[in-house]
Symmetry: C2
Subunit: 238 residues, 2 copies
Amino acid sequence: MSPDQLEAALRQIGAERYHNLHPFHRALHDGRLDRIQVQAWALNRYYYQSRIPAKDATLLARLPTPELRREWRLRLIDHDGDAPGTGGVTRWLALTDGLGLDRDLVVSLDALLPATRFAVDAYVSFVRERSILEAIASSLTELFSSSIISERVAGMLRHYDFVSPETLSYFTPRLLQAPRDSDFALAYVREHARTSEQQAAVLDALRFKCSVLWSMLDALEHAYVTPGHVPPGAFRPT
Amino acid sequence: MSPDQLEAALRQIGAERYHNLHPFHRALHDGRLDRIQVQAWALNRYYYQSRIPAKDATLLARLPTPELRREWRLRLIDHDGDAPGTGGVTRWLALTDGLGLDRDLVVSLDALLPATRFAVDAYVSFVRERSILEAIASSLTELFSSSIISERVAGMLRHYDFVSPETLSYFTPRLLQAPRDSDFALAYVREHARTSEQQAAVLDALRFKCSVLWSMLDALEHAYVTPGHVPPGAFRPT
């Protein structure tokens, strides 16, 4: 495949497998969830957010040049901030606070769905164990995140009276950060995935990452929507 | 806790969290699944079976004495056999064959639910990364497996005309192997978990393992029963 063909194949995977297509996300954005269900989403998604710096640091540790490491370091700054109270992980806690979740419970991770933990840990392991090319390619879900973020923020503000713009402050910087990051990752993949094996590995990496995000929503839907079977030990509506 | 109290606490976890309590298993044993749903169970559970030798080998590699290694090696023999066509993994393929699944599809792992892969991989990682005591404790779900196996074999033979005793040949030796293995693991844990920290870690290890098995069934129920949303790329009824 030419770089353009590879990019088209990557975008096709997003069009078919990105989690904006998942019924739970559609319900979230369309206002069909109750406060408990939105809490469950935010609480579980916190684990994903909290592990993104670990995912990025494990790749940073393996990148061979200062140029690549400087570029990838931006992601750590985005998520961990430059000072206490800044950064994406903290902003996610503003969301869980705003939804009325106890912060100690969220940070303890005690109430997570096990499937959330397994999926997120699989992502961190993938980035640690696979080639640098595959690790970078697995970040390419960010190619598709701007549209879902816009849709999510607009939909949640319109439909939920327990959601405010401050609560959703996580998402605003992501509208700039995600395209910057995905531009870099896409350029890297276009340049470095040359053989058919490399291109197949890149496509598989993006499919894998889509399956991580998708399975997190499957678990939320199963536990809190349909059939609504909360597994032992996980967050329960009180 | 005394060793007896620790054992009682372990058995209590099983009474509350072992996957015999899961609605999917109850449906499987009560004959309320169709052939496709039983196929999906067997196909996904194959991945668990196929990774058990990896789980055991990664622990075997860390055990400090010939006595412990000889004991744990029995598990590899059970699962991988002594000759082509023997062992538990092969017997599981007799089950998927008997259910009419294409063996190449099963062995390829291409049709797995991503959540199956994430849960099983989490188990192998746990055993590789945690203390030997926790790794051994995580095997203690076998304390509870004899009853589920008896129930499963009887229920499946009674309710499904597409299931024969030969198809279920996997399970018969497990009725002897699992108690032998769990007797050893329980004795080890009773002897080596002495501090309250060690005892807490042992209990957490068993809770973790229960959550692995439970989340595999959550994913099956979600994809193939209620609401019946098969994630992209996974096995689909044809």
